[in-house]
Structure formats: structure tokens, C-alpha cells
């Protein structure tokens, strides 16, 4: 048994060495597939994280109707504060709101004067607790929040909903793309390795004719495939880390995502292990399919 293992390992090493360029091509194919898939996956999960951050920020503005006096407003504030979904409430009085607006938009003063006292309503700025942010609880909460004192409830739900729907679409697209990528990579690796089995068909055929089993012939190729996958995955991991560091730096300059823990180039252990696993599987399946193809047609 140990002798067989020795023969298999020697054969694998020899085949890797003697078909260095084809093995490099196979590793390159795997690296490219993982890079493409990984980049898409990364973009998607970054977006996903961002949406989660925004969702967590769901935030309602409840505008008081004109004629609700400050005492009444204070009472409503207390009621809202008592609601279990509410994380925090800020009371913005009409005076505060006007001051804020005037500070932000200097030219607005004359317009506000024109519109009169009630132009800028007082409001409650409500932040929800994260666990109440699901679709249903949100609309439920809005219903219970509704009362005569409020003129209008304004929340960014539509925006979040649209983004979530878009993300769902993107995920479906990603799954389709991933499947396609895996198939293409297996096909390409299989064909590259078919060239290897073709180049070595005299030897492989003779091995089969003198009584080698499929396992004995295939094992070195499976090892070869695993090595290709490993190297391909390492290349992809390197490239993805670089890509991530560069792109995320850029993106964060453009769109601050809050305290996003995304900015460094490391991919995370599970991603690295995932890429290694998928890479090795691609190599092994690709090489395995090439050997099987050879075995079926050899005498």
C-alpha cells in the first residue's frame, strides 16, 4: 500500500514538472474563475453590508400638524418614547427646525418670512431599535404611531425596499453567474488536462494495458488538480486582497459608509478557506473528468 502511495506521489510530481506550462494554464484558469467570482461576491456582500447599515438606521420623521402646542408635543414625545420599538427620539421644535434651516440655507430667510410662522413644522426624529426593522414590524409600528397630532410621517422605507429588491436580483444573478463560472472553469481545466492526458496517452494507455486500475492512473492527476487548485486559489486570494484594499479605499472616499469594517485588504478566514476549497474542487473535478474521459476510450 505504501509502495503504491509512493508510486502515485512520484507520478504526480513528475507530471506536474513535465507539464509545467499546461499546469500553469490550468492554475491560471482556476485563478481567473475565482477572481471573477470572488470579486462579484465581494461587491455583493459589501453592498449587502451597506444596505444592512442603512436599514439599521431606519429613521422616521414625524411632523406635527400646525396648531399642536408645545405642551401637547411634549406629551406625544413621552408616548413615543415609551413605545418598545423606539431606540431614541429627538424633539425638534419649530424654532429649532427654522434655525437649522436658516443656518444650512442662508438665502431661505425671506421665503420663510413670506410663508409665516407655520412654514417649518416641529417634528420628532425617531430611530428604531435594530430588531424591529423587518418589513412588517415597521409598517405595524407606523400604524400605531399614527395620530391626529401628526401631519405627516416620513421614512426612507421605499428607498430601502427598492435597494433590498435590487440586492435580491443581484443575488440571483450572482448565483447564475457562479454556476456558469464553475461550469466554465471545470470545462476549461478538464480540456487543459485533456491535453496533458493526450500528451501522455502512450504512457497511460500502456499502464492500462499492463493492468493499472483507474484509481492508480487517476490518483496522480487528482493530486495534480488539487495542486493547480491550491495555486490558482492563492493567486486569486492575493489579487482579491489587493483589489479590495484599493477599491474600498476609493469607494470610502466617495461614499462614507459609516464605521465600515471593510477598508482593510484582508478577506476574512471563511472567504479564504472558501476560495481554497472551491479552487481545489475545481482542479480535482477538472482533472478527474479528463482522466475518466481518457479511461473510457483507452483500450
Amino acid at each position: 500500500m505504501s509502495a503504491t502511495l509512493g508510486h502515485i506521489l512520484r507520478r504526480a510530481a513528475r507530471s506536474l514538472w513535465e507539464n509545467l506550462s499546461l499546469n500553469a494554464v490550468a492554475a491560471g484558469v482556476i485563478a481567473a474563475a475565482l477572481l471573477l467570482g470572488g470579486a462579484f461576491w465581494g461587491a455583493m456582500s459589501t453592498l449587502n453590508d451597506a444596505v444592512e447599515v442603512w436599514e439599521r438606521d431606519v429613521h422616521l420623521s414625524a411632523y406635527f400638524a400646525s396648531g399642536v402646542d408645545e405642551a401637547r408635543q411634549r406629551a406625544v414625545l413621552a408616548e413615543v418614547q415609551a413605545m418598545p420599538e423606539v431606540e431614541a427620539v429627538t424633539w425638534v421644535t419649530a424654532t429649532d427646525a427654522r434655525a437649522y434651516l436658516e443656518e444650512r440655507v442662508p438665502d431661505i430667510q425671506p421665503i420663510l418670512v413670506e410663508l409665516g410662522e407655520d412654514a417649518v413644522p416641529a417634528s420628532l426624529e425617531i430611530t428604531l431599535r435594530a430588531r424591529y426593522i423587518g418589513d412588517e414590524t415597521l409598517s405595524d409600528f407606523v400604524t400605531r404611531l399614527q395620530r391626529a397630532e401628526f401631519e405627516e410621517l416620513d421614512y426612507g422605507k421605499e428607498w430601502v425596499e427598492r435597494l433590498t429588491a435590487f440586492l435580491g436580483l443581484l443575488k440571483a444573478l450572482g448565483a447564475a453567474l457562479g454556476t456558469l463560472l464553475v461550469m466554465a472553469a471545470v470545462f476549461l481545466v478538464g480540456n487543459t488536462m485533456h491535453l496533458v492526458t493526450y500528451a501522455r496517452r502512450a504512457e497511460l494507455e500502456t499502464m492500462k494495458l499492463v493492468g493499472a486500475t483507474l484509481q492508480f492512473i487517476a490518483a496522480p492527476f487528482l493530486i495534480e488538480g488539487a495542486v493547480q487548485g491550491l495555486i490558482g486559489a492563492l493567486l486569486a486570494i492575493g489579487a482579491l486582497s489587493g483589489l479590495k484594499a484599493v477599491l474600498l479605499g476609493r469607494i470610502q472616499e466617495l461614499v462614507p459608509l459609516g464605521q465600515a469594517p471593510l477598508a482593510d485588504g484582508s478577506l476574512g478566514l471563511s472567504t479564504v478557506l472558501g476560495l481554497l476549497t472551491v479552487g481545489v474542487l475545481l482542479g480535482v473535478v477538472g482533472c478527474g473528468s479528463a482522466v475518466l474521459r481518457f479511461w473510457r476510450q483507452a483500450p
Binding site: 502512450a202 500502456t206 499502464m207 494495458l209 493492468g211
Partner: protein
Amino acid sequence: MIRLYHVSKSYGSAQVLHDVTFRLSKGEFAYLTGASGAGKSTLLKLLYGAEAPTSGKLLVGGVDASKLGPARLPLLRRNLGVIFQDFKLIPNRTVFDNVGLALEVIGAERREISRRVNAVLNVVGLGGKGERRPLDLSGGEQQRVAIARAIVNDPAVLLADEPTGNLDGAMAVEVMEILLSINLRGTTVLIATHDIGLMERFPHRRLRLNAGRMSE
């Protein structure tokens, strides 16, 4: 040791073997003869499982080669030594590695391989040429490498396809003497050949194929 019952073989619409029946006992030495294209190589291919018969039954060492699945065919082949018409030597491996291949695939230890390969190279008169590559050897030497690989694991049956086909007279006699000596050690030997002179010089049982039909 070898039995064929009403074996026929067609490639597509071309029938190559017609209702062939014969048996070869353990330890026998026989020629399979006939003109080029008579079906000699095809019959040997059926015996080592490279082709399946279209109809009929065929037993080698008691097993039906045509019914062996891919898992058990290798086991049959390990008990057969085959000298192929085109040698099937691996050009970029040494003579030693080529012969050792038959032992490597059954998982023999390296030391064991080394011992047996060197012994068998001496038997075929290639002692000291183990590190050569097949293409650096003469036709006769290549033929003997092919013989060495076929006999290195003491097969019960030795099949040889035109083993003297491309050798001059003296070399052919030498090869025949090797094959006969292997037979003397108990191996059943079947040699496909159309070399009448050789068969007359070393007379043995002849199985004649004529356009795929057998007669003795």
C-alpha cells in the same frame, strides 16, 4: 487456460472473426497464424480485453474477459503478459522504467521492482542497458524490452503479436528461444505470426485464421 466458444467479432458491418472455437491448455505453446488482415491481432485483443466479442463466449484463466467490468479488467491483465505488435514502449522513460511499469501498477516495492527488472533484463540479454531510452535501441532490442515487460511478473499466459515481425533471421531465432524458455517454466504461450519459416524451425501447434475463420 484459454477457451473460445463460437466467438464472432465485427467492426461495424465488417465481420473480422467468424464463429471461432478453440481451447489452449495450461502450459501449451501454440501459434496463431494467417495472412495479414486475417484477424490475429483482433483475436488477441479479445483475450486481453481491449475489445469485446460481438457474440460467443471467451474464457481466459477461467474468467470471461468480455464480462469484466472496468474494476476487474486490470486484475485479468496482471495475470497476462502481452507483447504488443507495436511494442507500446514509453519513449521518454528508461528501459528500466518501461519494464518496471508492469510491477509499479500492482504496487510492488521499489526494491522488489529493481531486483526483478534487472533479473528479467538479463534473461532477455539487455543487462546493463536499463538506463537507455527505447528510441536509442535497435528494433531487436526494443522487441526484447517489450518481452521483458510482458514476463516480468511471471504471467500465467503470454500473448505475443508478431514478436519476430520486424527482426532479421538471427534476431528472430533469439527471440523465439526466449519465448520457448518462458514456456518451459510453465507459462501458456500464444504467438500470432505469419512467419512460416520460423514455425517450421520451431514446430508447435498451429491455429490458422483464414479471413476470420479458424482451422487447425
